[in-house]
Amino acid sequence: MLAKIAFRNIFRNRRRSLITLLVMTFGATALILFGGYKERSFFGLRETTIRNRLGHLQVFKKGYFDRESQKPLEYGLDNIEQIRRVIEADPRVQTTAAQITLMGLVSNGEKSETFLATAVEPARDNLMRAQWMVAGQFLSDNDTDGVIVGEGLARSMSVKPGDYLTLMTTTVNGSLNAMDVKVVGTFITGVKEYDDRAVKISLSSAQQLLHTTKVEKLLVMLKSTEQTTAVQSDLQGGFANRGWLLEMRNWSQLATFYHQVVLLYNGIFGFLGIVVFAIVVLSVANTVMMSIFERTREIGTLMAIGTKRSRVWSLFLLEGLFVGILGGCLGLLVGSAIGQLINQAHIQLPPPPGYTRGYPLQIMFKSSNLTTAFLLSVITATLASILPALKASRLRIVDALGHI
């Protein structure tokens, strides 16, 4: 009966309830949209970071992180084919890709610039789609002297596909070595500072330049990001059993930028969440207070005919709860509908700081997000009713009955 009274009371002052429900719906919708945008951004950034740059896991020779290398590739991996076979035997692994990063000077004969090169296995690296080709084509496994360069660097060196450059760097023995390479394409990654220095070269060419057969690291790409921890622990076990002195890092340990963005976004959305929360709390509290004021005599009657304080308290708390449930449901409907519209509108956002490319505005619907929005509506509305409900239950019966 108490629930029946509480529920019917919501529809008693329709206009006021409607306004409260609109506020609740606005709150839940905002949470769904903000949350969905945040999730999509995190997901996009995470997957881009993993698929384009880091892989899910990276395998290094033991000591790579702890000890200072005196020479390039001092802690490089030998015999990667053997390691690769073990890793790729795991069905959860999609592929592996060996890499070397090297720095040095690049020259077009007239001027020199520093470069930051990534040596890759072209066929495997191509799957990672780490860059967008602007001109020419990507490296192929047959290129012995081909490179692709970042658009900024190409502009600075005044080169286009077909032109030649000279790369100069220190070999693993500490001597200097240079190599003429042919620009087969130019690319952008979206990060301007990187594109102004970036070179991609085939692994075999880099090894030739460095006078080595080693690689720096082996990237492991998984079919699903969620399996990262499990695969890492299984592979580590496998390496230990074979007595291989290897160490692994997962993407989360390497993705400093991703974590910074997550922290920043969580801060911003947390603040927005608090603002929305405050609006909803005040609105619901106001509604319940108004309702109590209007129904003072009714509360007096209820108590006069023997209703206990706790029941009066529960009655108003239930009203808050029902408003919360209704508002939460409406919020889910409206939030999902607006989210779908946004996703279908293909809205393009401007590039974030440090980037040269914009990205699409997308809302991700995650059950945990929807549940949070709904529960927050319910909890907020219920919490907002506590004090007014307490006030109602503590009214003096005689005063309440005499209230006009």
Binding site: M1, M303, I305, G306, T307
Partner: protein, 279 residues
């Protein structure tokens, strides 16, 4: 001296002072001893009741009469356990409730007392049936028994057909009948009514009064009215007149003889005609 009452019973006006018959009194349901009640108005204490003593017995049909501000409603509120006396002692159904905090008297209110208000005070979101059912829910009565009890009282007040209607679909008289059924459904010992006919036209007021009197005669439930209404005052078997917070007079002026109506509840007969009035 005898004359016909509207209900067809012989009615007598004895004009006996109750105070002088006190030694005959036994089994009171309410006992007020030297009750004082004052309100604070800023820094001034305003007395509402001064040294009021009163005993109420099963079967009583009492009008608390007096001008506005005489203390009728205050007295009703104290007996109804919704207000506390400043001084004095209140015994309800054998239990001294003077010191018990009001919020702990909720179950006393729901089981022993019934209320009828001037403005009906029905819950607008509940149907007539649900309004009557509400007090039974407080006592935790089983559903089947509850239904029987609600229908019984809706029938008693002649509102079975309106059971599913909400208060705003009912007339003033019908609303007050629902309020009566709500007050009676727990079958309390005492029903307190504050100006129950003030918002009704005289014809409807008379119908309501007939109904209350009939219930009183059948069930011996005590009815205590705070009223200005001469109709009620005249029809009440016991009239307690208040002035400036004091009892001016307490008389049994009209009563019905046991012989006059076979349906008369024995307790009413005993109170009205037996122990308290020797013919």
């Amino acid at each position: 001296m005898g004359k016909e009452s509207p209900t067809g019973l012989s009615r007598f006006s004895l004009g006996v002072e109750v105070a002088s018959m006190d030694s005959l009194a036994t089994g009171n349901v309410v006992k007020l001893e030297n009750i004082q009640k004052s309100y604070r108005l800023g820094k001034v204490e305003v007395p509402a009741l001064r040294d009021v003593s009163l005993e109420i017995y099963q079967g009583d049909f009492i009008a608390l009469a007096g001008a506005s501000g005489s203390g009728k409603t205050t007295l009703l509120n104290l007996i109804g356990c919704i207000d506390k006396p400043t001084r004095g002692r209140l015994v309800l159904n054998g239990a001294d409730v003077t010191e018990t905090p009001l919020h702990k008297l909720a179950s006393v209110r729901s089981r022993t007392l019934g209320y009828i208000f001037q403005t009906f005070n029905l819950l607008p979101v509940l149907t007539a049936f649900e309004n009557v059912e509400y007090p039974l829910l407080l006592s935790g009565m089983a559903k089947a028994q509850r239904n029987d009890r609600v229908w019984k009282w809706l029938e008693q007040v002649g509102l079975q057909a309106q059971a599913r209607q909400r208060p705003d679909q009912l007339s003033g008289g019908q609303r007050q009948r629902v309020a009566m059924a709500r007050a009676m459904v727990t079958e309390p010992k005492l029903v307190l009514a504050d100006e129950p006919t003030a918002n009704l036209d005289s014809e409807t007021a008379l119908e309501i009064l007939d109904l209350l009197e009939q219930i009183n005669r059948q069930t011996a439930t005590i009815f205590l009215f705070a009223t200005h209404d001469p109709q009620i005052i005249e029809r009440a078997r016991r009239q307690v007149r208040l002035r400036d917070g004091q009892i001016l007079s307490d008389q049994y002026s009209n009563y019905y003889t046991a012989e006059g109506n076979k349906e008369l509840n024995p307790a009413v007969a005993a109170t009205a005609c037996g122990r308290r009035f020797v013919q």
